[in-house]
Subunit: 477 residues, 4 copies
């Protein structure tokens, strides 16, 4: 699925009390770049005032040496995001920074609120104006309510009103906050670097800056970091109607997170290996070699190979130069467009029975084209193995899957898909098998995109509660 | 003074009912480029939704052919601005566009509010958040008050609460507004182009697009343009404490506006010629030639030459390639920095008694260096003539003069300035002489920067009313 | 004609023995920017090796602070050029630098050779390869002939073989050369800045860097500047068939050079004023005002006004923001395209009999459109006065006039042109009148574009000598 | 070694008779991007004239959609190159195109001549001028010799005079040439795409454009492709003193070429797997896991794992966003600089005995830092295995290894290196073992960088023949 370009959602980072706060934040964002390639921003605080630079592009493009003179101070937060095509990109870039009655505040958000439209309508009815489509702007409007006496109270009270997925980093003049929704849908980790505290979506950011992982921010927790140290709130505790059920996004393990990260109490690479082992148990194949679709299928393919005893082979070569700068000629045939990214090695696959391991199938076209490439390179049999169950439902929590209409598995049976892909066999990992690959209780994960069971109410466009999978118009990421 | 780079403030443009609204707006902004070189923006409406593109740079840099596909619709407003160095430039670029309870609205502002801080504090106390330092954001917060029933009511009521200078263009889904403060401090004109109505800071924008000038928007008027045609409100009529005295910025005539524009019921070029005539009457000189400091002193020099009978000569050549791209080497001497812009022609001035006509003296250093250049080129006598009175007070209405401390005339007598500049004589035009150059009653102009008499109350940084000239921290332009 | 955009040809600069040679060269090129806006280059020598940076764009775009670290050394030459549309711009950018048997050499050329094709064919026949279409490459091939014993001998001998217009700056590891063709078609001046010697196309470059003008390089002179000082060669002296007749391009005075420059022993601005005086004598008019087409007609208009007693007025305003960044919408009408550059002031011209002074008419369309603008602004009568004779013949010496077919005066009588332009009267300055405006003997100027009399043989495309005006394919500028 | 950034040399591509020649060339260069990331160029022929676009940057940066309108014609060649830091990059970009007596010619070169200085001196002695430091310019000077009667004769005769490594693509108005030096040091392949013939450094370029591989251009062969079809010359046949010994660069297999390419009659990926098998035989280890240094060590690690039975594991994660845009803060510690590229997965290596497989060690610092990372991640034992012998001698054939002084293996024994790296054991593959990994006779490979035995004479800087390994100043790549 790596090849189908499911847009990554967002990554957040924060640091408190470091003389090079903005520079360290840049490094942290660089490590989180895979979570958002379209825009990046850093907001720093010098104790009195917040300073902000953001722009379109990769971290290395948005910031240069000169940037850091304009980002003074010992505290900072940062954000990388992917951006829906056609949207007013710059306006919707984060962190989102404002001034209000109690001072300055900036916020970076990973996730998606499901009651965004309702909240917005309510706020507007009281005179609020909105300059963007971002959920972070909603958060700030809620926080700015005059009744609260401090940034802290505003933040703690506000999160009670929002529903959905959110891992937040929030910066004020003198405080750094880390917030995670009660379901813990998106990851957020707490670390320490000398005398500084750091927050990051994934631990790979800690590795790069050589910070020590302390623990994950807990679902439903608001972590406050300031001069006095670190303290926690659990604003939803005892709130009626809140199931408080932990429901972490399993697809972070399957696809999004970096394999060297630790999230949801497991190393991602190891989970993927175990997905491969499980897959080999559930869907064995008589084959000569196992090849991954790089890079997303690499770990699962290794697991499959080990479990099955079928030798691993690198039958596809990925071209890493592909990027926003190279646009394939519009006249180029479809197969060239696929090959620009992946090229099969004939010498590896010719005459062989091949197991191909990938992380997922979304629309099916990309997978089909890769099968064609392998056939063209002489593969005798092709057995496709997918390290998660079929995708049948949309995600309302920040992942931009195509609509149900376009999801092949929502519309076709496994056998139809097998025929469509023209493979000799096709095996999806079972829901149970997938959940078994982590060390956590199965009930601690959100599997909505596979099962249609959503951990929160979801709303239709008229803001009416609906049973499930009609997608709300998302306002953020 | 052209050489001292007083930042121009802003220019606004609007058009209603034209199939190429955004393109025409681009042309209009191009004609108004002298009013703001740092940033430009266009917001268009397709009847349902507003579309916005803005960025740093000249009009020709911010927009390209592709821009206009992303600015659909028959109505549009545009803005050019200069931007305080170091400010978060992109955030403060206009038009400022938001969504609120009654729909979408975008606003472009030329001027400066003097009660911005008070309004902001009040709004924040009720939960408003501010993402920028722009007055246009204050306007929108006021307009968004839930009590009003329409965009129109919101706009009409809001302008009653603001104090200061504002010429506004406002765009909603289906309406275009032109607003001018009760003092008429900044210009705003209404025109017609076929079936379309247009608004612009200066008529030179109408000339370029071949629109017909109808009239100036009147001080205190809110013009509403929509499907039903054009109608007017005068929200301040009868408001207590409003002197309603017309008080147009005389410095628009002296320096800011383009000489081919008609504003405040006069052609700017003709006014400048008359300033020159008046100057020659008040401060005659025995001299061989009259030379302008190009381009700002050109018209006044012509008037001086005609009145005095002393031949005009072009003794300075201006290099028009100078711009943001050419940075003079830091090692370069001061005289090189002046010469990069202006070079004297030795053959024109050598051995001559020279009258030099410029529009103003601010700090005095630039003028002094030019005098040196002329001496170096062999001028025998130098008689400096300035086509306005000495600048002694700050402007709170959108012009970024240096602080009183830096204004040479606020701190030194004319005779001291003469010595400082090392000229043989120095003559400033009198206040009366300056006002006599227009066809309007003298009382219709704001002369605060020359006289210290402000047409509105002005506030200090603690938001306390103060008698006069302590400058408030400006929030907009 | 300023409005018709006759491409300027080129400007050259050189400096010997200055610790900031490249930076001073940048300043010099900036002053010469009007001679070439499309590309710029600087080559410096550190005594051992030459260093080169060149690129497309204005001087301020091609070089930045970092450039000068990569241009070390005490000697440098620079070049600005205009570039024929569509040509491989970068390849043809100068200075042209090579290594050959006697070391390294770089050359900057202003002018055009008329025997370029013949020389090229001869050189190729002996095995030379050509990487560009530039004449400077031909020069270097000639210089590299093995027979010569030094750079100096190579240069002195080579110029004997070329025919046409050339003002050259040449840099070797330890020497700077200035070369001017025997006709002196293009200007080249020698100056001194402290202990450094400088060369420049025009003296305005000396003014900016505060160098002292010494003298012009003489027609036919090769100036050598090195450790031993300055010495001269006159390679053509006594050569058979060389008329040695000075024949300087009169159009430099009429249009190309900057008015503050001194070239061909006269100040350009003064010559233009005298052209205006002469024009008023030859073609008086009954009129109310004289207005220049800015900026090219400004000085001549002043002269016309003084001579005729008709008051000068600034009836056209030029928009200096126009540049490569602003592209007028293709849908825009023709009159908008003209107005984007120049706008008439109705209040100045309405109801008036107007004399319009411009430097030349090439195709006639631009002039016609300006006449329309004036009529639209209410001018009662329009009397067009041109400060040179009609253009009837192409230039083979570096000015890119349109072909004879497109030159309106080569195909129509003055009376037909008058009707085409729809003016009430039209007056071109006479050849004699034009020549009388300088202080030099009339015979010292090339007037080929007006008279068809070329100071050198000119060749057709088959490299056959031809009587006159069939244009050779030019290879340089 | 991937981490030590040995600059790749160059890649070449050519196509004859395709309506989209330039676009296909762009695709071909994109597939060859790993051979040169610093600059790219395409030259096309429309039958009459050659057209050229080249520039700094990746293929996707140098060319855009508009480029192809300026590259018309059915034939084209292309080139990607890496460029020595600080060199006048643009000047040395290829293809190199010139005009000479027999028409136009463009050349793209992969390799390095060892008698470049001698040839250059000879050519200069006869009057040649050199605008660049590229070997391709030397080729063209040789070809342009007047004695030859055609492009073809010039090319065939010229290659007899050069000594060294060269795989060339040459384009004339109506012909495409592919040339490979008699030793076959660099690869060059011939393919067919419909009615078109194609040439490419590696077959991965054929895969992308869906061309069929025909055969490799043979060592010493000149392939001429034109209207009449394909024909061959072997210019060196029978030449005295030419050993004609095939001597292909073994390091193409070890490191440079893409694993999906077929060069020198073998698939690169398979060769690398066999290097790993061989390595496991020669240097077994008692260990728990085998991990590659991605991506350069991946295939050899797989081979090692298979041969040894020790499980493969992906213990390092590579960040592919690293590129020219991201510059690590100068303040960052050394370990951060290494981690920015590679991050170890603690969960994979902690407490394990680890075999690390990489392709080579050059200076040793990068390897040392990676060892530190693994120790930091908890590895118990580290056994480093290198899939080639120690590098002890410079390459004169186009690979920019550091000087002998900097090559760790040229100065230290294996046991010293082991201590320096702080590994528990270190094993380099033997020369014989390396050569055994291909299917070709061992004598068919150049192993100079490992053995110091050069297949050609090599010259010192005074152009004297020298026994071996004093490096000539290279002039090309």
């Amino acid at each position: 699925m790596g090849g189908e370009n499911i847009p990554h959602h967002c990554g957040v980072f924060g640091i408190y009390n470091h003389p090079q706060a903005a520079r360290i934040t840049q490094l942290g964002l660089f490590a989180l770049q895979h979570r958002g390639e379209e825009a990046a921003g850093i907001c720093s605080s010098d104790g009195d005032e917040l300073h902000l630079i953001k722009g379109q592009g990769l971290v290395g493009e948005v910031f240069n040496d000169g940037s850091f003179d304009r980002l003074p101070g010992n505290h900072a937060i940062g954000h990388v995001r992917y951006s829906t095509a056609g949207s007013s990109i710059l306006t919707d870039t984060q962190p989102y920074k404002v001034e209000y009655s109690r001072g300055q505040i900036a916020i970076g958000h990973n996730g998606n609120l499901v009651n965004a439209q309702i909240l917005r309508a309510q706020l507007e009815a009281y005179g609020s104006i909105f300059g963007s489509m971002m959920d972070s702007e909603i958060f700030v409007h809620l926080i700015a309510k005059p009744a609260y006496r401090s940034h802290e109270e505003g933040i703690v009270e506000s999160v009670k009103r929002v529903v959905g997925a959110y891992s937040l980093v929030i910066l004020t003049e003198e405080q750094l906050y880390g917030v995670r929704d009660p379901h813990g849908l998106r990851p957020l980790c707490l670390g320490k670097l000398g005398d500084s505290y750091v927050l990051a979506s994934e631990t790979c950011a800690f590795d790069l800056i050589e910070a020590k992982f302390i623990r994950e921010v807990e679902p439903g927790e608001v972590v406050v970091i300031d001069r006095k140290g670190v303290r926690s709130h659990f604003p939803h505790k005892g709130m009626e109607g809140m199931g408080h059920q932990i429901s972490q996004c399993i697809f972070e393990h399957v696809y999004f997170a970096r394999p060297d990260s630790r999230i949801f109490h497991d190393n991602v690479g190891l989970v993927r290996e175990r997905l491969g082992h499980q897959l080999a148990k559930e869907h064995p194949a008589k084959a000569d070699i196992v090849i991954p679709v790089p890079d997303s299928g690499t770990f699962a393919a290794l697991g499959f190979s080990r479990e099955s005893g079928i030798p691993l082979s690198f039958g596809f070569i990925r071209n890493h130069y592909i990027g926003r700068t190279f646009i394939s000629p519009t006249e180029a045939g479809r197969s060239i467009k696929v090959k620009i990214k992946l090229n099969p090695i004939r010498e590896m696959v010719e005459g062989k029975r091949v197991v191909v391991v990938d992380d997922s199938i979304v629309r099916g076209n990309t997978a089909k084209n890769r099968v064609k490439l392998l056939r063209g390179a002489g593969a005798k049999e092709i057995h496709m193995r997918i390290s998660c169950p079929p995708h049948v439902s949309p995600c309302y929590y920040g992942i931009d899957f195509p609509s149900k209409k376009e999801l092949i598995a929502a519309n076709q049976s496994a056998s139809m898909i097998r025929k469509f892909l023209e493979v000799d066999s096709l095996g999806y990992l079972s829901l149970e098998g997938m959940l078994a690959a982590t060390t956590q209780p199965p009930s601690h994960f959100c599997t909505a995109c596979f099962s249609g069971k959503y951990p929160t109410p979801v709303f239709d466009e008229q803001d009416k509660l609906k049973p499930e999978n009609k997608k709300v118009k998302c306002r953020g990421a």
